[in-house]
């Protein structure tokens, strides 16, 4: 086996799915601040993606908005576009996610399939594609954005919990498969983070957080920035909880 790279190659690019706003946008900005070229993937919110790119460029980084629905079409085509525009994808952050909540007894197949399809299956397909250049390069970083929901119960989100717990399981096994090629695979598990998805959080939920406050998207960005860094080269297969102590 060729020597592993211990330092990120020069034009290494990070592809962040669902990065037009919220946690994805914060991750994109954190990676750009750490020197990654960043592909800001979006499905429908072109304006948000462009705003993320603009924020990165204003901070002195380099990024491009890249359209693509991760649940549809061919991941290799998306990767080709990113490589042509920025550089080889040596970091992938599977962040794109959806919810379709309901008590399990009332959750229909469509809501189940939609959430598993976007949050888990699409992340697998993207991961499979991303590993190809990474194992050849002897360097790669994959970070899956999971959730405290999955390891913990959350009534009304059986589909979401299954997908996120599945992501954590996938993270561990894929990490074990490619570790000897210098490719790390980790997950972050945000708790309650201030985004559109949590804006109607009841007070009782806050009481369940030891820190007694919701997190900021930047808290998650910082965790991903670390896991994608050269400093984290020996960290793989793990899940970093960013949850104010909820899972403690």
């Amino acid at each position: 086996m060729g020597d592993l790279l211990v330092a990120r190659p020069e034009n290494a690019t990070a592809l962040v799915t669902g990065a037009s706003k919220g946690i994805g946008a914060a991750i994109a900005q954190a990676l750009a601040a750490d020197g990654w070229l960043v592909a800001v993937n979006y499905r429908s919110d072109e304006e948000g993606a462009k705003a993320t790119v603009e924020a990165i460029e204003q901070a002195g980084g380099r990024a491009a908005a890249v359209h693509g629905d991760v649940t549809n079409g061919s991941p290799d085509e998306l990767f080709d576009r990113v490589e042509a525009e920025l550089g080889p994808v040596l970091a992938l952050v599977n962040n794109a996610g959806v919810t379709a909540d309901g008590l399990a007894i009332q959750l229909d197949d469509e809501a189940w399939d939609k959430v598993i399809g976007t949050n888990l299956t699409a992340a697998f397909r993207m991961t499979r594609q991303a590993m190809r250049p990474m194992i050849r390069a002897r360097y790669g970083r994959i970070v899956n954005v999971a959730s405290v929901v999955g390891p913990r119960a959350n009534a009304g989100q059986a589909n979401y919990a299954a997908a996120k717990a599945g992501l954590i399981g996938m993270t561990k096994t894929v990490a074990a498969e490619v570790a000897r090629r210098g490719v790390t695979v980790n997950a972050v598990a945000p708790g309650f983070i201030a985004t559109d998805m949590t804006k109607d959080l009841p007070d009782a939920a806050l009481q369940a957080i030891p820190a007694r406050r919701v997190g900021a998207p930047e808290d998650v960005g910082a965790a991903v920035r670390f896991l994608a860094s050269d400093d984290a080269g020996y960290v793989t297969g793990t899940t970093l909880f960013v949850d104010g102590g909820m899972s403690a």
């Binding site: 086996m1 060729g2 190809r132 194992i135 050849r136 498969e177 490619v178 000897r180 090629r181």
Partner: protein, 82 residues
């Protein structure tokens, strides 16, 4: 454009790729088994990728599971041509 598949060309590609996985060039022959060469499943997956990039021939996990020797790998790729 995918390269033309001939047994000689595929042999050259495979022989050229194996040292990337730590294989000693002097040990490479058609009869050598991947086990003897200490080429593991991830190495074979990467070799499949090199072959796919070069010749456009996709080898799946099932295919790769059946091959035992360097010669098996070359023959499999050649048999998929055309």
């Amino acid at each position: 454009m995918a390269a033309t598949i001939t047994p000689e060309a595929v042999e050259k590609t495979v022989y050229g790729a194996l040292p990337q996985f730590g294989v000693d060039e002097s040990q490479i022959s058609r009869d050598a088994t991947f086990e003897e060469l200490d080429v593991d499943s991830l190495d074979l997956a990467e070799l499949s990728q090199i072959i796919e990039d070069e010749y456009g021939v996709q080898l799946k996990g099932d295919d790769v599971g059946k091959i035992k020797t360097v010669g098996d790998a070359i023959d499999l790729v050649v048999s998929r041509a055309g």
